[in-house]
Each structure stands twice: as C-alpha cells, then as structure tokens.
C-alpha cells in the first residue's frame, strides 16, 4: 500500500488585487479554490488545465512560496500550513520545483556550474568538495558531461536546459518534484527524450512528481493519475486510464477532443468549445464551466458542484453527470473519439 506523501485539504489561495488610490475595492481573485488532492509516494500526478486555471498558483502554494488562505497542506504526516512566510518554504524542503523555462531560471551572467553550486549552497550543503561531487553525479544522472559546468545558459539547447534544470534540484535530494510544463516549447522529437529522462530519474531516485501541463497528450504517457483544473477548481480526478478512456466531466471531454490528432480531415467533425475561459477575477456563478458547457442548464449557474465519486478512484464535479452519461450513451459521437 503506497503511503500518502502530500495531502491538500480544501486549500484555497486568494489574491487581493492591489488597490489604487480612489479606486473601488476589487473583489479578491480566488486563484485556487478548495482544492483537495493527495499525492502518493512514487506516483506521477498530472495537473492539467489551460492558462489562467490556477495550476501554477497551486504549485507555488504547495511549495510554500504563496501562502494558502484556507485549508491545510500535510507533508509526510506533518502539517506544514500556517507557518510564517519565511519558514514555510524551509518546512517544505522536500518539495522542489523545476521551472517551465529552466534556461531563463539560470542567471545569464553565471556559468552553469556556478549556478548549480549555488543551489546546493543555498540548500545547505556547506562542504565545497561535497557540492562538487554532487554536481558531477547529477550532471551524469541527467546525461550531461562535466564540461557543461563551464557553459553559459544561452549556450544550451532547449533539451539541455531542461536537463540542467533537473540536475539543479536533484542535488538537493528532494522527495517530491513539481514539474511546471516540462516540455513546453520543445519539439516533439525532443519532448520524448526529456520525458523519458524524467521517468528514469523517478525510478533512480525514488521521486514523486506533480506534473503540471496544459497538454493532455504529454500527460497521457507519463502520469499515473490526472487532475483536471478549471478556474481554480479541480473538476475531475482519476487514474490516467479512467480519464482517457472514460472522461466524465464535460470539460475533460472537451480537452480530450481538442488535442490535435494524427487523423487527416477530421477537423469539421470535432466540436470546439465556445468562447474563452472567463477571467479568474470574474468567475461565473455556480459551476464556473457553465458558460461554455454544451450540457449546461439553468441549475448549473446556481449550484456549485462538489467532487463526487463516479467509480473507485475517479471523481468529477458536475451536477449533471448522469444526464450527460445517458446522453452520450445515446449519441456516442458526442464523446471524444478516444473514449468511444
């Protein structure tokens, strides 16, 4: 039985918009709203959502860079919420973060080796010999030779930058790694190599990943479980297989539908969601998705749906799940092609 490593209990993160002189008070932006999630030891949990859905804020909240305004986070059995800002990051040392653009996450004036060394120094490794050894080990682990120490960040290719980003935090011996869009901006041909490295590193170092992405096709081949976010809330969560073969929430279905497929001439048949995601500062009432949902009725704008168990391990937040299931059973073409 794998144990729970991180548990989020009803975590919300709210921003107060900065008020300008003589301006009316603005309502707070609820970037992350009552998110409950568990992260099992050794698993890869994907968090999927479009830009502005709050997945990055969720990551920063888990890291302790952003203070949760409600709920609590339990890390390996210890409550790490409610600490003063300067301690909360320290208490979560076991969690490390790889930036979306690891090249930009390196000081452009510093050689890669110096940046890696600094990360370890900041991480509390005082002995320079020990640091040098760890850097060598980590560069080796991500498949780069020691010569990369003397490179500057701009001299690295996209794939190499990701590798350095991974090496940087691996030296700190984290248990949980949050990967923020680890493949965005990479060619498909390079993506696969980076993803494989990420998976290999998990096995080698016994890591647990929180994998943030907007791209379901990436997550499909990586993750054990997947959580779908829309406007700060989790709308569906389940095992990768459940999400891909039997998506229940209409938003999940739309996301699956929208992924570009290797099937020429199908564009006309695919239904696109109407409109754009609403501004997080002006969330629709009730179910936030109702403004774009093809199945929405008037109750959807009134009732805020809670996550409900639809089968073991899979939960979805929608009040019309049963109706949608019936409708898609009658007209299977409404379902994403992959789930038919």
């Amino acid at each position: 039985m794998p144990k729970v490593l991180v548990e989020l209990q009803d975590v919300s993160t709210t921003f107060k918009p900065r008020r300008k002189l003589f301006q009316d008070k603005l309502p707070p932006i609820r970037a992350v709203e009552r998110v409950s999630l568990t992260l099992m030891e050794g698993e890869i949990l994907g968090v999927i959502g479009e830009s502005g859905c709050g997945k990055s804020t969720l990551a920063r909240t888990i890291l302790g860079l952003q203070t949760e305004t409600a709920g609590q986070i339990v890390l390996d059995g210890n409550i790490v919420s409610g600490l003063p800002a300067r301690h909360s990051r320290k208490a979560r040392r076991d969690i490390q973060y790889v930036h979306q653009d690891p090249g930009a996450a390196l000081d452009p004036w510093w050689r890669v080796g110096a940046s890696l060394d600094e990360s370890l120094k900041v991480g509390g490794v005082a002995d320079p010999v020990e640091r040098a050894e760890r850097i060598d080990r980590m560069l080796n682990a991500v498949g780069l030779n020691a010569g990369f120490r003397s490179r500057y960040p701009h001299e690295l290719s996209g794939g190499q930058q990701r590798r350095i980003g991974l090496a940087r935090i691996l030296g700190l011996h984290p248990r949980i790694v949050i990967l923020d869009e680890p493949t965005s901006g990479l060619d498909l041909s390079v993506q696969a190599t980076v993803l494989r490295l990420i998976r290999d590193l998990r096995n080698q170092f016994g890591l647990t990943y929180l994998f943030i992405s907007h791209d379901l096709s990436v997550v499909k081949r990586m993750c054990d479980r997947i959580a779908i976010m829309y406007l700060g809330r989790i709308v569906e969560v389940g095992s990768a297989e459940q999400i891909f073969t039997n998506p229940r929430h209409p938003y999940t279905q739309a996301l699956l539908n929208a992924a570009p497929r290797l099937r020429p001439g199908q564009l006309e048949e695919i239904e696109a969601l109407a409109g754009d995601p609403p501004n997080p500062a002006r969330k629709p009432s009730g179910c936030a998705f109702h403004t774009r949902c093809p199945y929405a009725d008037e109750r959807c704008s009134q009732i805020e749906p809670e996550l409900r168990e639809v089968r073991t391990g899979q939960q979805a937040a929608c009040i019309r799940l049963e109706a949608i299931a019936q409708q898609t059973a009658r007209t299977p073409e409404l379902l994403p092609e992959i789930a038919r």
Partner: protein
C-alpha cells in the same frame, strides 16, 4: 508557372554570414502552393521553416545574407521585386502573415481599430488604389470593412472591439484579430508561422477550425509552418517536410501521415503521442547550418543509413505525377 500555382519556390538558398562563417540556412528548397490549398511545412526547430516564410515575405533577419533561386508569385519573381512594391502590394496585402505569438504581435499602446485600419490605409482596400487621399469617408468605409472582417473571424461585439486595446483580449481573441489583419486585403496566400503554438488546446481547436473555414470561404491558399503533425493532419492538404534547410519529403497529408517514406518523416510521426504510448524521440540534434554533415544531412541520426548516405546528397525523387517526392536513397525505385 502552371496556372493552378499561386506560389512556386525554386532552388531557394539563403546563406547568412555569421561570425563562425557562412551558414546555409536554406539549401535549394523547392515548394509549390496550389490555388486554394493548405500546405503544411513540418520539421524540428532549426530546420529553416521560419526562414522560408521570411524569405517569401522578404523580411529576412538583418545582417549579411545572400539569397539565390526564385520565388514566383502570380507570374513575378518576388526576389527581384523592388522593396517599395513589396511593401505596398505584397507584404500584408497579396500575401498575409499570421505570426506565432499573438501576445507580442500587437502594439499595446494603440487600439485594435487603429492597428487594423493602418493595414487598409497603407495597402488600400481591395479594389481601390492605395495612394488616394485618406478622407473621412474612406476611413469610414475602411472601418466598415474591418467590422466585417472581425465578424468573419468571430470576434464578439466587433463594432466595440475596434476601440479596445490589445490587453483587453485573450490570446485566442488576439490571434483572431491578427487573422483579420492577415485577410484584410484579400490576400492570395496566407503564411502562418506556428499560429497555434502559444495557445491553449481548446483555443487551438477553435483557431484551426477558423483557419480552415476562412481558407475555403475566401479561396486563399495557406502555407502553415508547424512542428506539430497533429495540426498538420487536421488542417493541411499537402505537407512538405524540411530537415536542416533541405526538403526531405513532400506529398498529400494522408499519404505522408499513413505511409511516410523518408526515415526522418517516419521518426517525426512516430513521436506523436497518437502513434505510440511509448516515449519515442529522435536521438541527436538538428545540425548547425555552419557545418552540416556531408551527403544526406540526416544520415548521422538515421537508423537506416547506408555507407553511400554520407557521400552524396540524395536528389528529390518524384513519384507518380509529381504528387510525392522524397530525398532518400532508399527509394530509388519510385522514380518514374
């Protein structure tokens, strides 16, 4: 040039003189775009896709470079056309352009209307000469045209959208505005450089559908550069695959996707998550243009490479009726 061709690129080579020596970014590229078709250009980054688009538009990066070959567009060679005419009649007029990043492509300090009207003011409305006086009534007419265009690209509340600033629009809406700008002067061709990479998946689908619809409705040909075979599969009629500044293969989309010939194409398609649940990549990297490998440029990464591959560049071998072509020694038998 055949009648049904709107654009024909012949033996186009672009050499940039960098500090490390001359870099041949494009090397004898050939490409034909037929009336009304959507042609995808695929390849990893660094293969010269964007340079191809820029050469057609005549906006190659600054710095020393030399261009040879020809780009035939409606019976004229764009490479020998004077700058002035290129600016007035071609770029943004007869050839529209949709950039990659909608967040960077609009000037934040001008309203959307100002920026779109500028296009019509510079090039003139379709059918009217561009150097007439810009009177109030001309501007009003232009405004009406822009509103029509915004309706065509499905920007909600088009009339009021004109007076708003770019930051008030989402990424998808901005991309729609840019598309409206690209079709404003009834272009023959639209060049699109990774038009959906910066967008979310659901928005990407909307934009792809819109592009397809517009291409049919306005009878415009499209050159679509992307590294995503999914996008190509959904949108384009034919595909050209480029590798390290050269054409590797071209043909109808369906045939390329289902039956790719060139090992590079095969590997590219195998990388797509639809093709396998395994994580498959292409080992190695695209060579730098300063020092490309000898012979077939793909041979160092090619699993099927033979000894002859490093010796000479394989010529493009054409299939039946020029429908397909592949530059690989493995396919000498398809020569007709």
């Amino acid at each position: 040039m055949r009648d049904d061709l709107v654009l024909s690129v012949r033996d186009l080579s672009v050499t940039v003189h960098s500090d490390d020596g001359p870099a041949k970014i494009l090397d004898h590229v050939n490409l034909e775009l037929r009336r009304g078709e959507i042609m995808g250009v695929a390849g990893e980054s660094g293969c010269g896709k964007s340079t191809l688009i820029r050469s057609i538009l005549g906006i190659l990066p600054h710095g020393a470079h030399s261009v040879t070959g020809e780009i035939q567009f409606c019976g004229e060679n764009l490479l020998s056309m004077p700058q002035r005419r290129l600016e007035r009649e071609i770029r943004g007029a007869a050839i529209g352009f949709i950039p990659q990043d909608p967040y960077l492509a609009l000037n934040p300090v001008f309203t959307v209307g100002d920026q779109l009207l500028e296009i019509l003011r510079w090039h003139g409305m379709p059918g009217e000469s561009s150097d007439r006086r810009y009177t109030r009534s001309v501007r009003a007419r232009h405004r009406e045209r822009i509103i029509e265009l915004l309706d065509a690209v499905q920007v909600p509340d088009a009339r009021n959208a004109l007076d708003r600033y770019p930051h008030e629009f989402s990424g998808g809406q901005r991309q729609r505005l840019l598309i409206a700008g690209a079709i404003a002067c009834q272009p023959q061709i639209i060049l699109a450089d990774e038009p959906t990479t910066a967008l979310d998946v659901t928005t990407q689908l909307q934009i792809l559908k819109l592009l397809k619809e517009l291409a049919a409705r306005f009878d415009v040909s499209m050159l679509l550069v992307t590294h995503d075979f999914g996008v190509i599969g959904q949108l384009s009629d034919r595909v050209t695959i480029m590798y390290a500044g050269q054409t590797a293969e071209y043909g109808p989309t369906g045939e390329i996707i289902n039956d790719p010939r060139h090992p590079y194409t095969q590997m590219l398609i195998r990388c797509h998550p639809d093709r396998s649940d395994e994580l498959i990549g292409i080992p190695g990297q695209v060579p730098v243009p300063v020092s490309p490998p000898s012979g077939c440029r793909f041979h160092p990464r090619c699993p099927a490479a033979l000894d002859i591959c490093s010796a000479a560049r394989p010529p493009l071998l054409y299939g039946e009726a020029d429908r397909q072509a592949v530059a690989c020694v493995l396919y000498s038998e398809i020569v007709s």
